[in-house]
């Protein structure tokens, strides 16, 4: 999931903070991955696959992101670089503003991170079961996407883009913001739920197929 907020809507402090956080972590990431040339090719491959996946219309206001799959295949640091590049390319042609790239990278990286750790834990827990990959990837994707929905709603709440909050910014806690957020959350959750189910199924299918046909793509840390 990512936010499609255009430029000029978010408050300055929020998008600057988003960029600042991402720059700090990107700096750490490029130091961590130094010398891993082959995984760099994989990171670019995953970024391109994410862009292709986002081009496929599903008939609902949702598109597949494959961020959890990116986290599982690449691991946390390469996933950050890959999601940042994807969000940057998307922003250059108006698929979300350029000011939102930092926040969107945080959201999509959050999905990759959560998905990676849940997948790692679950597939170890189900080590002897034949269905461990399908189950672990499905559950990790679904959980990561639903948690990122909460993160998205929190960012929207923090941004104060609700006009009631913008106009009456002196009246804190007057209940109007709370009401709008409830409506926003009520609209977002069902769409996110459908999207998470679809994406969990697709991620499971891909990982099970990869394990059968080209297991070398799945990194050693799951062994």
């Amino acid at each position: 999931m990512h936010i499609h907020i255009p430029d000029g809507v978010l408050p300055l402090w929020l998008w600057i903070l988003g960029y600042a956080i991402v720059i700090v972590f990107l700096f750490a990431a490029v130091r961590k991955v130094r010398g891993e040339e082959k995984r760099g090719v994989y990171a670019a491959t995953m970024a391109a696959i994410m862009l292709v996946a986002m081009s496929i219309p599903l008939g609902v206001p949702y598109h597949i992101n494959l961020t959890v799959l990116t986290g599982i295949i690449l691991g946390p640091w390469w996933a950050l670089i890959s999601t940042f590049v994807t969000n940057l390319i998307l922003a250059t042609f108006g698929h979300g503003g350029i000011t939102i790239v930092g926040l969107n990278t945080i959201i999509t990286w959050f999905e990759s991170l959560v998905g990676f750790y849940i997948f790692k834990t679950l597939q170890k827990a189900f080590a002897r079961k034949s269905w461990r990959f399908a189950m672990a990837s499905g559950v990790s994707t679904f959980t990561a996407l639903m948690l990122s929905t909460i993160l998205v709603i929190s960012i929207v709440a923090a941004s104060g883009i609700n006009p009631a909050e913008v106009i009456h910014h002196h009246n804190n806690g007057d209940g109007e913001t709370q009401m709008s957020l409830t409506v926003f959350a009520a609209l977002t959750f069902p769409i996110a739920l459908v999207g998470a189910v679809i994406e969990a199924a697709v991620t499971s299918l891909i990982l099970v197929y990869v394990k059968k046909v080209k297991p070398t793509l799945i990194p050693g840390w799951y062994a």
């Binding site: 670019a44 986002m54 670089i81 390319i89 503003g97 891909i206 197929y209 046909v213 793509l217």
Partner: protein
Amino acid sequence: MVRISTTIYLIDHYANNLNSPMHKASTLSRLMSAIVVLGITIFTNSALALVAEFLIILTFIAAAKLPISRLLSWALYPAFFASLFALSQIPYSLVLPIITIFKAINAALVMLFLISTTPYPELFSILSIPSKTLGNIAFLTYRFFFLFIDQTGERFTVMKARGGLAGSWKTKITNLAHFIGMLFITSFETSESMYAAMKTRGYSGSISHHKKLRQKFGKQDLMPVAFVLCILAIMVVSTFFKAWRVFM
């Protein structure tokens, strides 16, 4: 849903094959002009100034020989999301929604103007200044994307032609699952072999700074400079107009 693949294809075509004064300008001047105009757009809160800025951006898009209608149609995508905010602003103000929508359209148009006149590798070579890894990944992503989108289209047509989407829902879903899995693995194999081919042709694992990035500021940069000056002129006039109204 925006057809991302078609959009990137066309943008790539405009950036590489058109020949206008903006295309001839140095990468740095184009990038700096886009950053300045984007900054002005974000911080402007005058509806009139934003409308005037919109008209100037369109004029420069036309001067760069770019199709106004197509770029406008792409800029409408962020405008749609901005309109969701704008709608909720109507009860409080009628000017605020106009500001919100024009900020979104103008910012999107500025970005589209930049990438339709600057090939992606030129832009990505800027990323390689702080980190070669970032520049490299962005450049490879761009190369792989075109490859994968072609592969996806071709293989999907083949699957459909061979009856892969015929039969019961169970058959359809099974075939589609195999198709997605196969496509995923093929993408990795393609990127690995393409990377190996690039290395044999001298690719060192990092993109060098594009020659246009090293280009010195000169006559060729008149158009980006004129673009910034026109936008700045609007903001100055708008500020004076506001001050004049206060005094009157």
